[in-house]
Symmetry: D2
Subunit: 350 residues, 4 copies
Amino acid sequence: MKILFTSDYCEGALPRIMERLQATNMVQTVGYGEDEFCAQARDYIRQACECPDADVHFLVGGTQTNATVISSILKPYQGVLCAESGHINVHETGAVEHGGHKILALPSPDGKITADQIREALDDHFSDANHEHMVMPGMVYISFSTESGTIYSREELTAISEVCRGYEIPLFVDGARLGYGMAASELLEGADALTLKDFARLADVFYIGGTKQGALFGEAVVITNDKLKEDFRYCIKQGGGMLAKGRLLGVQFAALFEDGLYLDAARGAVNKAARIREAFEAKGIDFLVDSPTNQVFPILTEEQMAFFDKDFGFEVWKKLPDGRIGVRFCTSWATPDVNVRQLVSAIKKL
Amino acid sequence: MKILFTSDYCEGALPRIMERLQATNMVQTVGYGEDEFCAQARDYIRQACECPDADVHFLVGGTQTNATVISSILKPYQGVLCAESGHINVHETGAVEHGGHKILALPSPDGKITADQIREALDDHFSDANHEHMVMPGMVYISFSTESGTIYSREELTAISEVCRGYEIPLFVDGARLGYGMAASELLEGADALTLKDFARLADVFYIGGTKQGALFGEAVVITNDKLKEDFRYCIKQGGGMLAKGRLLGVQFAALFEDGLYLDAARGAVNKAARIREAFEAKGIDFLVDSPTNQVFPILTEEQMAFFDKDFGFEVWKKLPDGRIGVRFCTSWATPDVNVRQLVSAIKKL
Amino acid sequence: MKILFTSDYCEGALPRIMERLQATNMVQTVGYGEDEFCAQARDYIRQACECPDADVHFLVGGTQTNATVISSILKPYQGVLCAESGHINVHETGAVEHGGHKILALPSPDGKITADQIREALDDHFSDANHEHMVMPGMVYISFSTESGTIYSREELTAISEVCRGYEIPLFVDGARLGYGMAASELLEGADALTLKDFARLADVFYIGGTKQGALFGEAVVITNDKLKEDFRYCIKQGGGMLAKGRLLGVQFAALFEDGLYLDAARGAVNKAARIREAFEAKGIDFLVDSPTNQVFPILTEEQMAFFDKDFGFEVWKKLPDGRIGVRFCTSWATPDVNVRQLVSAIKKL
Amino acid sequence: MKILFTSDYCEGALPRIMERLQATNMVQTVGYGEDEFCAQARDYIRQACECPDADVHFLVGGTQTNATVISSILKPYQGVLCAESGHINVHETGAVEHGGHKILALPSPDGKITADQIREALDDHFSDANHEHMVMPGMVYISFSTESGTIYSREELTAISEVCRGYEIPLFVDGARLGYGMAASELLEGADALTLKDFARLADVFYIGGTKQGALFGEAVVITNDKLKEDFRYCIKQGGGMLAKGRLLGVQFAALFEDGLYLDAARGAVNKAARIREAFEAKGIDFLVDSPTNQVFPILTEEQMAFFDKDFGFEVWKKLPDGRIGVRFCTSWATPDVNVRQLVSAIKKL
């Protein structure tokens, strides 16, 4: 059996989550997220965000969450500004367009977009005389961490937030890998690290990814802009995201947020990814992108790839013109130390 | 604490399912339903359906499954014929319309529609000269068991299937409560009971409900009509139904179908519902509808309702002109015998 | 050649319109409705409505106008209340659903719905505990005159408007045959007749039909509720209703509204329909519905139908259980007196 | 009054069209394009295409036509390959996305895309293992002439057609300016010029633009691929494109195609544009793009622009980094010779 570094959803859930699901299994509750476990989890998350007025909703998966949030915000003639590599633009089978909206993609070499790019796109549209022939930008979508494993600094995120508020355009942060991003932010920015409190303050709506961060599944949407709160449960239900046994999401997010397990688990994964990255660096391997989170993107030759392929699972990311291949190794909350040691040991043999 | 008979999704999952999820928790697999657990579950289901060529897909919930299947079948100008009480017409927040399609509702006192109604609707459309001004019926949706707890007989389902095939219109069976329906069919029709094999033969696509039948969540879509198979995974992904950890669905459906647990659990619930129904009948209580499955719909006075409300949870279904109220008591795979005894004992005190 | 009474769109346009189009044909203007002819027409219509702040937009056809207005108002999870016989529910090939919205149809024997029906539907929804599982009523659609040729009285329309405002739900009036309706209102209600001023006051948005009322094509949308005005031109463009040569609509509506030609032409048609209706009445013929506008719905035997079919065109509307057939004879701004005389003469021979 | 070169829809219609509309104005016909004028026009177009089996439909405008054709072809998870400058991608307010489909934009400096680009996009998708996470390319959209005034050669169009057929992907040609493109093709390619017969043979569906080519409005969709023919009238009706007085389109297209008026009028416009282009060239003016059709894109300084702005209308197209401005001068079927002379005379004064 190969050791899989293919993704951060290769295993089930953190042990505490499995225990809680087992322990509460035969408790009777009402459905659709109106049970006491969900109430508890909402409270924990509001506290972690230091935002007592936030609305918190639990959905099942990322594509669903993105489509539901975006569809709830935009008017029919509006689109969403997004990095061209954004998950909604590339890997969700057009779910946003299926909901009727154009994605207004901005060039991005590293998965991030800048406040300047956003401002320029908004200026372009709103100063154009014949603007009604074009899709109106109605919101901004960014990922944290991005699909390329990168993260925004406090300064960058603040600048984006300010542009959005200047134009009264909501900012939505896709946090499928929010924990890994926050853990990396701690390492890179120290006291300036971005926390849940910052996302609650700078974004209008964001979600805290569970699926890739230690839950069986589930994403917690946090809405801080009052204008976006109304009737969101209708949108969840229409979009197929309202789990009958909503309790399963409540139990899981309560377990993740009662004492900081969420971020702790992410820190471990980021540290392990750093060891892998350093091992590649030590061998002079280039990287597709400089990712500080749980994803590492070394560029390998065909021979090197074959060497790893015997014992490890990883993903082919991008073929380069020179014949080399950018690949992705992913750690997660579930990665055992021994797996990292074996991979590092293999890297050393390159 | 009240004893809840409000729905069949008040608890978690069957013990075997919890054990299997725990036992496989740290096994590494690929994502999106392409793992070995899903493969195993698909095989079990194909065997149970005696349909080796069926495509089997696992989605998370019912609204999502209905919207995905319907959207995958219809052309933009087509609609779906359905009982006016059909779940898609009443309780899915317009998910089908959100996907662009009209629901062509047919009158139904008991949740069922007839082959004659369907034939008449199809005749009406296809013989109308100006038909392009009207939505073309493109498929038929029925529920088994229905939202009113009723079931189709073998004869009725066969007649519907024949009309659909005569018009080359796919028949889709919503099986959110398929198990309870099949268990009731055994009681009512004996050797003529409808089985998975019959649904595989008479429908073009149907789903085997997990959420209400003992799984934490999950619905297994079985596609037997070759024309409907192509690219269905694109539809699942676009509709937000492709679980990253698809293994969770594979593990659960394998547990349900490896040796008949699915139907066994349903039989227990139907038997318990029968005891409750008989207790109400013995007191001369009327019913909204004559339901042979796990749902019982007695008509109570306000006083009777208040009497039950002290100790039991149930749902208000319909207020009648005479002031009485039709309510729903629901059993499930999880209902303990003691709960039934307490309810029956209370009924006797009416 | 038969004389056609099949519809009110059998001919081209009123002579004045053809003259104006010819006279302005080579004048150069900007496109998309921002020309001086459109500006002029908007002014005339605002004056006729005594509503100087109204927004007026010109679209090409009725289905397009209905779909555009409804899509511009509703949120994704909202639907539109409407008579089951409403044009949007029956004869627009699901354009509203294609735009993502459910039509919440109310029973109606004569094409009209009542304030009580609307209030009850709104009460039902907003008092329901689990309301997010159901489509939220977000607006009301009525036709004036209706698809059955009937009209609302001042009292009825006022009551509907009050219910809508009480719930803060926009009222939209489909005025494809607004002129014929107003002309009939004059005959039925005298000084209480409903005028453009009333529609501007009682509805939030309505349209003044051109296609069936003497223009080559075109519908003028009048928006009086400020909340519905924003960005409507984006909706028109997205919906395909923004004519490049918008001037054609401006020229036509200016011709119709500069001195009352619109209503004059409608009065003539309604008078002619009255003569036809009276001729049928004199022969003791029953009617499907008591229509005071330009549509007449006599119930004929097969033999009677065959008799008329030799010389006249008309539409089969509804087959009755007793074998008789409800048909429609339609007059219009274009119906010459001689055609009416010939038809009346034929009726007398029955 | 300025002389407008802003677009090819500044005037009404060719004189013959106005005469025919006037002459047929009071003729009674059935509605919705089933009249004898439409039948005649369809015959003329089939003859001009040398394709007796083609289906021909008349719609009102370009955005509507594009949205209707594309929505009729694609499955929900499919998108349309298109130049990033394609009209559907830039200037139709997201009508294609409103219909549920992603536009898969390909880079294009001159409005054209190549067979190689299309092949690469198709290869990329269909060879990707996880393809169901991405939108499947389901058709190709090109414009002839393009939004930049350029045209495909016979060789280029044939190559594109071959790639599409190799992948069984329909090719759709937006012919809003088909006539100007064909007239330019005659000048550039002589005996190899692309004709209607070629479009009928190489595309699966295309439309012959009327609005910009001498009609008041109207686009004629020609469907040659049998698989795309079924039920297209439903799509037109649902999309709001089925004109009640469809006769207006029949009369116009019959006038355009009974004896070649369509192409004659286009030739005149292209010749006039050539004179303008040559005048700019003679003054050493650069062009944004080398357009051989009725659109000319000189690059002017601010001073030059101000000079023209006194007497002429034109469109600002693109601001260049060096401060110069690319503008568009457009001729049409309606441009009088005197206007061209005055513009050329002004250019000479630069």
